[in-house]
Amino acid sequence: MPAQALNRICYVEDDEDIQRIVRMSLERVGKMTVEVVGDPLVAIDRIIAFKPDLVMLDWMMPGMDGPTLYRKMLETPETKSMPVVFITAKASQRELDELRKLGAAGTISKPFSPKDLPEQLRAIWQALP
């Protein structure tokens, strides 16, 4: 379990409506600091700049999907050890298991409850080694 409490979250998501709901949920309910990135192609730079505690990735995005972005993060020294949580409406159990094997910290399925989202993230955060 990490020493400090979960505070800084970077969320990569192309859907602006969901961006807004997640921001509200994490900021208002979870009292966290949130950076939202709409374009996955610039995400790595933005993540490096923001230095989040945890990164949330949408699964299906135009330009680059979540799993590909995650692999890129693993190849990047500054981001490779960051915990990553996938938010998905689609993935099969096998794909989710594969991501877990690669090292993803957890998955949250859509639709999620914005009331419970901060708690869900904290539970994942506390389960980290």
Partner: protein, 597 residues
């Protein structure tokens, strides 16, 4: 060396012995008795007439009273014999009681013989020479005449002749006359000779009766055989007609079948093809017959694989069903077909030919693929906006954004609840689709069922509160381990608990029990105090879109898919689901799972 013509009589002689032995001994005895009784009228009349003449001739002796007595005896005996004969004629049980009738006839023969023996013994010494000669002649005549009458049973004849001759011989031997003494020595020899003849005749009669019966039986057998043969011929003809008709039917089936039907020889060459096969592959039957199936119907790259499959089919002789293979049409188009192959095997266990039926499933596969893609896209495309809708409403309704006016809150709560219903429906439809297409994978793990039940109660308390129903366990739940998919089992529990809450009256309690049952299984029961399941709904409760009353859907929500999904999920985990209870007195829904050691 035996030629067939010399061997034949030997065989027939042996057969005739067998034939005689095959006759029924009861019937032979009955025949002999009948023969004996048929001679009786002649014997009675003859004996009576001779007795009358003898009595007349002997009347002048010294013992007239004895002659009268003897004559009376003869009359009585004649009447008795006539009575016996009449009794036999009237008897309905001539065959069954043959032995008894034979005994009575033997007694009557002995009595007749003894009557004459009495006459010989008493009248011979008391009469003059002429009458003695007359008497001796009569006695000889009677002994000789007895042969044709009684020879069918030599012991009867022996008794009859002994009855006549033994007293007479005694009188001759003790008369005191040397000539008579010598005659007395000859009489037993005469007796033995006659009994010997009777014995031989008895044998001849016996053999005759046996042959007659055997022949009768043979005729019966022959007639029966003939009838059977005729019957079999009729049946054979009927069978031939049926085979012909079913052959015509089969040919018609193959000809009109929308499925391609081929017959292949064991080497894999096409022997025949039906019109559907011609249409499917674009070749005429004449073009295909005689050609190897691998060259005609399959893409060139698949030939080695097809040949290997064919060899294993011919070796195993076992039919193959549902085999999906890529095929090529005459125009080069590649199609996918589903094949059934049935080897026809002769009594020597060799494959004569192989019947191969196939249908084009290219379009079906494409439709399945499109359906899956559609479902998957639908799932994503519906969930994403629902995430925004439900998420926004939840944030508003939770109050984190500040107080909202009461009427607005009421409406946004309705919107959130219905958004959730829409999501439930989508999830259920996706589950059904996955189960039906066999794409649903379970992730079983060994887990404590009691803990899982408690967890499901905690998860659904909020929902039950909305219906003012309390969820509770009946005491402490036992620790039982099962091997099941955690997420899917929670889904089952959620379904049963939410159903129970929805249909229970306000203020009531839904009880959950957990018990070990026979056969190493564990049963979880969810007991409600609801209206019960209507009788006419019980059969289809686990069917899809099943709700007892469609108005419930609007009142209480639910898709009507939940229980059918639960049923399939539990079956996939090796368990089963059911319910008990009567209409109007609450219901218990239960499921069973195998207990993990």
């Amino acid at each position: 060396m035996n030629s067939p013509s010399t061997a034949a009589p030997q065989v027939s002689a042996a057969e005739s012995i067998d034939l005689r032995q095959s006759a029924d001994p009861r019937r032979i005895l009955a025949d002999r008795v009948r023969q004996l009784y048929s001679q009786m009228p002649l014997a009675i009349v003859g004996s009576f007439l001779i007795s009358a003449i003898a009595a007349y001739e002997l009347r002048e002796g010294r013992f007239v009273e004895i002659v009268v007595f003897w004559a009376g005896l003869v009359v009585l005996l004649t009447l008795a014999c006539a009575g016996l004969y009449w009794g036999y004629r009237k008897s309905a049980r001539k065959i069954e009681e043959a032995a008894q009738w034979l005994r009575w006839l033997g007694i009557s023969a002995l009595a007749i013989g003894a009557t004459w023996g009495f006459a010989g013994a008493v009248f011979f010494p008391s009469h003059a020479d002429e009458q003695q000669v007359f008497l001796a002649l009569v006695i000889s005549l009677l002994v000789a005449a007895g042969i044709p009458i009684y020879a069918v049973s030599w012991p009867i004849y022996a008794a009859y002749a002994a009855g006549i001759l033994f007293p007479f011989t005694y009188v001759l031997a003790t008369f005191g006359n040397k000539l008579f003494a010598e005659i007395a020595l000859i009489v037993p020899a005469f007796y033995l000779l006659n009994v010997g003849i009777a014995y031989r005749l008895n044998g001849v009669f016996d053999s005759g009766f046996r042959l007659r019966h055997a022949y009768g039986k043979l005729t019966e057998d022959y007639t029966a055989l003939n009838q059977r043969l005729e019957q079999q011929l009729v049946e054979l003809e009927e069978a031939r007609r049926q085979v012909e008709a079913s052959g015509r039917k089969l040919a018609l089936f193959a000809e009109r079948s929308p499925i391609a039907v081929f017959e292949f020889d064991p080497a894999g060459r096409i022997l025949s093809a039906n019109p559907a096969a011609e249409t499917l592959f674009g070749f005429s039957s004449r073009e295909m017959v005689g050609r190897p199936g691998t060259d005609t119907l399959f893409p060139s790259g698949a030939k080695d694989d097809i040949r290997a499959r064919w060899r294993s089919l011919i070796q195993s002789r076992e039919p193959v069903f549902g085999l999906r293979l890529s095929n090529t049409r005459r125009d080069g188009a590649e199609i996918t077909c589903e094949w059934s192959l049935t080897p026809l095997v002769n009594p020597e266990n060799l494959v004569i030919s192989v019947i191969v039926q196939g249908r084009d499933i290219t379009q079906q596969l494409e439709a399945e693929r499109m359906k899956q893609e559609f479902t998957s896209t639908l799932s994503h495309e519906l969930r994403t906006p629902l995430t925004s809708i439900i998420g926004s409403l939840q944030l508003i309704n939770s109050g984190v954004l500040g107080e909202i006016e009461k009427d607005t809150l009421e409406l946004t709560t309705i919107a959130e609840r219905n958004g959730q219903r829409l999501l439930d429906l989508i999830n259920d439809i996706l589950d059904v689709e996955k189960i039906e297409s066999g794409k649903l994978t379970l992730f079983p793990e060994v887990l404590d069922l009691g803990e899982l039940v408690n967890e499901s109660l905690a998860l659904n308390r909020g929902f039950a509160d909305g219906f003012k129903v309390r969820l509770a366990t009946a005491g402490e739940l036992a620790q039982v381990r099962v091997n099941a998919d955690r997420k899917r089992l929670l889904q089952v529990m959620t379904n049963l608990l939410s159903n129970a809450a929805k249909f229970s009256p306000e203020g009531s309690v839904v009880d959950v029990t957990l018990e070990n049952i026979d056969g190493g299984k564990v049963r979880v029961g969810v007991h409600d105090c609801g209206p019960g399941i209507p009788e006419d709904f019980r059969d289809r409760i686990f069917g899809r879109f099943a709700q007892a009353d469609m108005s419930y859907t609007r009142q209480k929500g639910g898709t009507g898919l939940g229980l059918s999904i639960c049923k399939r999920l539990l079956e996939m985990m090796g368990g089963r689901i059911g319910f008990s209870g009567r209409e109007g007195s609450g219901t218990t829904f239960w499921f069973e799972l195998p207990q993990q050691a």
